[in-house]
């Protein structure tokens, strides 16, 4: 059992508070570019939040040459250990969904870690597009 981040794009109002909350929590500054979640626009006040899917067979985890990306036992999230990262950018290129980005300010690799089980984006989402629910991770053993 762990917290699951549920994304409901039909509720997203494109306010980008999740990007701000993420960047504030992880980078300490309110800079949407430094957030690990991105909201793409799909119409007036309609957004499409794009965030790491924590894939079962994560390409980033497989491609990392130094073992800096691993699956967290507690939260089931695919997490990046920044002290191990050598910034080769292989994960950034390998992620098929484009959910790993580079921090323009200090060159760090930005990867969602589900905030150790309590995602800040969901806390600050005003419309319910991002919510956390406790339960087993869906699609865990799906073919």
């Amino acid at each position: 059992m762990s917290n699951v981040l549920i994304v409901a794009p039909d509720r997203c109002i494109d306010c980008k508070k999740c990007e701000l909350a993420c960047s504030l929590h992880h980078a300490g500054s309110l800079d949407p570019d430094r957030g690990r979640i991105k909201v793409l626009n799909r119409g007036v006040e309609k957004g499409m939040p794009v965030v790491c899917l924590h894939c079962d067979e994560a390409a980033c985890l497989i491609v990392c040459p130094v073992g800096a990306i691993s699956r967290c036992d507690e939260t089931d999230a695919v997490v990046l250990d920044e002290t191990r990262c050598v910034r080769c950018k292989a994960c950034l290129a390998a992620c098929p969904f484009g959910n790993i980005t580079e921090d323009r300010v200090d060159g760090r690799v930005l990867k969602c870690d589900l905030c150790e089980g309590a995602p800040m984006c969901a806390v600050f989402c005003p419309s319910g597009a991002l919510v956390t629910r406790s339960g087993p991770r869906p699609l865990r053993s799906a073919p």
């Binding site: 793409l40 626009n41 073992g67 050598v86």
Partner: protein
């Protein structure tokens, strides 16, 4: 046999797993220890010697202490460690004096030396442009990455980090891991017009088929596809374009079922794919 042992660091007791290296314990507990050659992605090496600490084992006489590099010394029961004793600071000052003689131009070394009260070297300064301290971190990380393109060459005063025969390295992936981990930032590299140059070799960067942005070299992609069995499709586009594509795909999947399609997706206005 319990795996937790009691050790003392700077007269304060800690309970730590047996065999855990002292540097890791100190870093976890916020005890500052200077180090240059340590990186979490590789095994500890003890190359720069800067993390020396003074220690005494339980079975030793109380006056008998020794110096050891914290990064390589495992915790055992009854170990007493001092991280800032006079003996330690003297050893660190000597090391920094020597490092300062080796690379007088390095900002990193100058800063750490000044923090330890060493403002200029008492040895003859080495002549040379690079700030390499021969800690070997770049070669270890290169081995870990799997390229094994660089290594230390020659011995004694002539020792240097080098590519095979000093020529552009054939096995290099151009990933710049070595340049990132180098403690003195002395590994030069340039990047312009979709080309990256490091260790005297020029690499072609893989351009995104959508927007032309580039972040990794062709060698890196080929290496990942060859050794990790990943689809080459993953590397065709940049992260921003892939993000737009996945958003469009999800929008298409979600909103086609419910409302028969939504407005355009993404800043470029490419519509959701109706497949």
């Amino acid at each position: 046999m319990s795996t937790l042992v009691k050790i003392k660091i700077d007269e304060k007791e800690y309970e730590v797993p047996r065999g855990r290296y002292l540097l890791a314990i100190c870093q976890e507990n916020g005890i500052p220890i200077p180090t240059l050659c340590h990186h979490e992605s590789v095994e500890p090496w003890g190359g720069c010697r800067l993390c020396v600490v003074e220690f005494r084992k339980k079975r030793w006489d109380s006056w008998w202490t020794e110096l050891a590099t914290a990064c390589l010394y495992p915790a055992e029961d009854g170990l007493c460690v001092w991280t800032r004793s006079e003996k330690v600071m003297k050893a660190r000052r000597t090391i920094l004096d020597l490092l300062l003689a080796r690379c007088p131009g390095s900002e990193v070394i100058t800063k750490i030396a000044a923090e330890h009260g060493v403002y200029q070297t008492s040895f003859a300064k080495r002549e040379g442009e690079d700030n390499c301290i021969l800690c070997g971190l770049c070669t270890r990380v290169c081995d870990r990455v799997g390229a094994r393109a660089i290594a230390t060459a020659l011995r004694g005063a002539l020792k240097e980090v080098s590519t095979p025969f000093g020529e552009p390295p054939p096995d290099c992936l151009g990933c710049l891991s070595c340049a990132h981990v180098c403690p003195t930032h002395t590994i030069g590299h340039t990047e312009a017009d979709g080309k990256r140059t490091v260790w005297g070799r020029t690499f072609e960067l893989v351009r995104c088929s959508g927007c032309g942005a580039a972040s990794v070299t062709r060698e890196q992609v080929e290496y990942a596809v060859r050794t990790k069995n990943l689809s080459p499709e993953y590397f065709v586009k940049c992260d921003a374009c892939k993000r737009r594509e996945s958003a469009a795909t999800f929008a298409g999947l979600l909103f086609d079922e419910r409302k028969g399609g939504e407005g355009p997706v993404g800043p470029t206005g490419s519509g959701p794919s109706h497949e």
